[in-house]
């Protein structure tokens, strides 16, 4: 069910840019809160909703702006980049794409709701030493989220041509049973596919039309947007390091002196990249050496294919505006190689600007020819469940940076993924396959597949990105195995919690948002039960 942010709700949303000019805004930062939550994405919004519904007074700070639904449309020139924030791994090409607007990454995700496979929960237990966080104990949280966000299993009647290709590929690769229908946070998707523009028809479930209105409805939540959390302020006492306030500045004004917002507890839910950065910036914060270690990218890349048959399934909005696109919404995840080779794929968003960019290496005449045939192209987003050789958040001049080095194993996963995807695409009629490399080989026939076997590349040559970043503040049974305990409480502190993807002990192997929400609710209900 989509819940609108009403004018009453909006009266509790403030911008930190108004701190100097608005008395109301100043009052917001002078209030003492039961909890201050950093980040309004799938982790922070659920934590805030759970706490406010139990009567706690909560301030939620969000680095990005509030973008009202009425300002959202499907025009690439207007919407591209409005909701996101880009970071990259150090010295490498992989971008870390973070949601940066009220609603966090839920504004840019494709609304696919998946639970990790059992082998991932087994990995989590082995790595963390904690048995109590598993598929069964999280199930009530998954269910609650499913009810609020209308999680709906996709069905065959929604299959468009690109999804049919994914299904046919599974058959051609001898793995028809490894195709699973995905769940999505929508019961009435319009099938336009530009989910990462926030959904111009407001049919995609995100935090701004689900948990945030629910939390604001209680009257216990205040939201401060355009607000960058700099550090947690606190000191050691008898029971451990105790936070007393959150230091914040308006976004893009880090030179300005910080404002302190006082709260009884701090809940960090700014995503795997920024959560670690906030904790690392916090003076005298305990157990620093463990924070930000082993971040997983679970990187994606897009494989394109050109077909003789048209691939576009829909292209017209109700108002008559023509928006050509194809490849979405995904109704299938192909998981046939996930457990053994750590990759999977789904049919994904493709629109002219994205195709133009991804094949920009072609000579101009070839490029124009491909663009002319846009309706005959489709895109697979391939994803690798990674295990990097080196991956840790470090601070340089106060700014977070991901010190990263991919593993040979992850490169091999990508190579095998490209090989199987190309093999499958050619088997179901692709005329040409385009791989996401700076200088990709031409793949037009089965005998070309040998070129992929011989490919030598690193992430430097790979056109990849990550919006599934996780880890860095893993839960663990003790300080040697994690940053937080099973309740999300940071070891060595009495009142600092983590409630986002940085808790994951290993990459989740599927779309992470549902599990982020479930874990955040697990953390928040734990806070409530301890009083």
């Amino acid at each position: 069910m989509i819940r609108k942010l009403t004018s009453k709700h909006r009266s509790h949303i403030f911008s930190a840019r108004d701190l100097d000019t608005s008395e109301k805004c100043r009052q917001v930062v002078q209030t003492y809160y039961d909890a201050c939550v950093i980040g309004s994405g799938p982790g922070g919004a659920i934590a805030a909703a759970t706490l406010t519904q139990a009567g706690l007074k909560v301030l939620l700070v969000e680095k990005g702006p509030f973008i009202p639904q009425e300002q959202i449309n499907f025009r690439v020139l207007d919407m591209s980049n409005r909701f996101g924030h880009v970071e990259t791994t150090s010295g490498y090409r992989t971008v870390l794409y973070q949601g940066s607007a009220l609603g966090g990454s839920s504004m840019i995700f494709g609304a696919v709701a998946m639970k990790p496979k059992q082998f991932v929960f087994d990995e989590w237990k082995e790595k963390s030493g904690i048995a109590e966080i598993n598929a069964e104990t999280l199930e009530p949280h998954y269910q609650h989220i499913a009810e609020v966000m209308s999680v709906t299993r996709q069905t065959k009647d929604l299959e468009n041509r690109p999804n049919a290709v994914v299904r046919e590929m599974a058959g051609a690769l001898g793995k028809p049973d490894d195709l699973v229908f995905v769940n999505r946070y929508t019961s009435a998707c319009a099938g336009i596919g530009l989910c990462n523009f926030g959904c111009g028809v407001d049919l995609k479930g995100n935090m701004s039309n689900s948990f945030l209105p629910l939390a604001l409805e209680t009257g216990n939540l205040t939201v401060l947007t355009d607000c960058e959390a700099r550090s947690v302020v606190g000191e050691d006492d008898k029971e451990g390091w105790t936070a007393s306030a959150l230091a914040v500045t308006p976004r893009d004004a880090s030179n300005r002196s910080a404002t302190l917002i006082k709260a009884r507890r701090i809940i960090v839910a700014a995503g795997a990249f920024f959560s670690s950065a906030v904790l690392l910036r916090s003076p005298k914060f305990p157990n620093r050496q463990a924070i930000g270690q082993k971040v997983y990218l679970q990187p994606h890349a897009q494989v394109f294919a050109l077909f003789d048959k048209p691939m576009t399934s829909r292209g017209t909005l109700e108002d008559g505006q023509y928006v050509p696109h194809n490849g979405v919404p995904a109704i299938y995840n192909f998981l046939g190689f996930l457990q053994e080779h750590h990759f999977w794929w789904l049919a994904s968003i493709l629109y002219p600007a994205s195709l133009a960019s991804f094949v920009s290496y072609l000579p101009p005449r070839d490029h124009f020819e491909i663009m002319r045939q846009f309706h005959h192209t489709m895109s697979l987003t391939v994803t690798v469940k990674d295990d990097p050789a080196k991956s840790r958040i470090v601070l340089k001049d106060g700014r977070a940076q991901l010190d990263f080095e991919e593993s040979k194993h992850d490169i091999e996963s990508f190579r095998r993924c490209f090989l199987m995807a190309a093999k499958g695409l050619l088997a179901v009629g692709a005329r040409r396959v385009f791989l996401p490399l700076l200088r990709p080989p031409v793949i037009e026939k089965p005998s070309d597949l040998g070129k992929i076997e011989k490919l030598k590349f690193t992430y430097n040559d790979l056109i990849s990105y990550s919006d599934h970043t996780s880890g860095g503040n893993q839960f663990g049974i003790d300080e040697r195995r994690g940053v937080t305990n099973a309740s999300g409480l940071v070891f060595g502190t009495t009142n600092v919690y983590v409630a986002d993807s940085s808790l994951f002990p290993t990459a989740p192997g599927v779309n992470p948002s549902w599990t982020i929400m479930a874990l955040a609710r697990h953390v928040a209900t734990g806070i409530l039960s301890r009083g």
């Binding site: 996101g84 150090s90 468009n160 990462n196 919006d467």
Partner: protein
């Protein structure tokens, strides 16, 4: 991922490598003062580069101005994004002295320097996105005979 994010990824990578590597062109690729939108010279440069990547007939028939569209794309991003893009365009313009002027995007692709190849690709992508993101470009796409 949205296309502009891809550009920013490349630009950030470009910046990172620029600070770590040295080669003959590096002296020319100096950082310039951050600006929030493209200047007249930058736009002229971008339009000239775009003309090497997109057929003249396509540019004429659609009436699309690539430089203007980049400015419009920048308006939707935050200040950090705008700084990165404007700085990158300024760098590219300086590097173009070594790589064939407005043909820099094409010529840089063949460079033996990874950094220059990336610059070529990024510049190409930036221009091509700004063109194909414009709804007027849709008239250039063949309409499929049959809707799948």
């Amino acid at each position: 991922m949205e296309p502009l994010e891809e550009i920013l990824q490349e630009i950030t990578s470009f910046e990172t490598q620029l600070s770590r590597r040295s080669f003959i062109g590096a002296a020319l690729l100096i950082a310039v003062a951050a600006d929030v939108s493209l200047g007249k010279d930058d736009k002229r440069f971008i339009d000239a580069v775009a003309a090497t990547l997109i057929p003249a007939t396509a540019l004429q028939s659609t009436g699309i101005n690539v430089g203007q569209n980049i400015d419009r794309l920048l308006q939707s991003g935050n200040a950090d994004h705008r700084r990165k893009v404007t700085r990158f365009v300024a760098w590219s313009q300086r590097a173009s002295i070594l790589y064939g002027g407005e043909k820099v995007a094409l010529n840089a692709r063949g460079s033996r320097f990874m950094l220059v190849r990336k610059m070529g690709r990024t510049l190409s992508s930036l221009c091509l996105i700004a063109f194909w993101a414009d709804e007027r470009a849709l008239t250039l796409i063949d309409v499929p005979e049959e809707s799948a």
